[in-house]
Amino acid sequence: MRIEVKDVSKRYGKKTALKHVTFTLEGPKIYGLLGRNGAGKTTFMDILAGHRLATSGEITIDGKKPFDNREILKNICLIKEADNFHENMRIKHIYKSYAYFYPNWDQPLADRLTEMYGLNKNARFKTLSKGMASAVGIIVGLASKAPITIFDEPYIGLDANARKQFYDILVEEYEKEKRMIIFSTHLIDEVSLLFEEILILKEGELILQEDADQLRSKSFSVTGSVDEVEKFIANKQVINKKKLANMMTAYVYGSPDEAAERKLRVEGMPIQDLIIYLTETEKEAN
């Protein structure tokens, strides 16, 4: 499926959550949608899933607008951090209602994951712990088999083991049946290996959209004498730099090609670090 986001802005009163955002997502792919709190990620996902309307601009899915459009919405499943389900419903009834809405619903998968996470299908949602409630969200998202499945920080309260199980199942299911998965999380180091493409929002604007491995090969640090490092970074996009005595380390986004000739030490930068630097506010950087 193809998602086109054209010049989308969203204002809540005086606050602008998204500012003229334009990009395209296409095909079965695992996308990482990253950024700080308040960067506009949740607003974007809400509009995409037809839960909200943009103030201006438009999002289309295969050319059609999602808002109030059942034909489109049955292809999209959004799992949020909380408030996904009615408190009084039993788990089995939640599954039933999703099975009714999503044509590709995979009940055997839902059953298998329910057992894996040790959930009782007869329990009411409100009796669940935070971690168990998150597990239900994850199960529903995976079992929906929606061609566009969106996870917005889906695992509050889930411990590291349970998250690992989730990543394993995600890879397994994705390999079996490709679909578009949009994943938004702050636990970047845990999932960055799963992303094929990464989008970064900062203060309501899209500041980067790039293939994950391209990002890895283009982000690096160089260390050497202040003079040499300054010469090397003169015509480069510098994300950050720090000095110690006569040495300097600069974090650069671009090509490391000439660094070796200048006898600079080049080191790769984990995606998590890159994102921290790119989304730092001016105030924090100083």
């Binding site: 792919k29 180091d189 491995d213 090969s217």
Partner: protein, 121 residues
Amino acid sequence: MKGQLDDSKPIYLQIKEIIEDSIINDQIKAGERVPSTNELAKFYNINPATARQGMNELVQENILVKKRGVGMFVTEHAKQILVENRKKLFYETYIVPLIEEAKKLNISKKQLIEMLEKEEA
């Protein structure tokens, strides 16, 4: 084989290196099947498409050969090709930094050679 990948380097290149190392170390021999992209994706918790990219490059470089519906296999001359490639890189990757460090520490060429010979014995 590595147990974990490094998030600061392209993943497909690391997958390539893992397979190359297994072939050079004789862990996987000519004619034998290498792990599938599925198995790699699951083992390392990575995106299967990324694993596939690494494997496909190895196919282009005649290290692996695809057999439809069965998997990917190590070619007859894979090890030979890889060893030749690694030899070319050996000077840059090992000798250059060795000489540089030796200079910094005032280790003479003679001393260096002595060290190497001692190692052999």
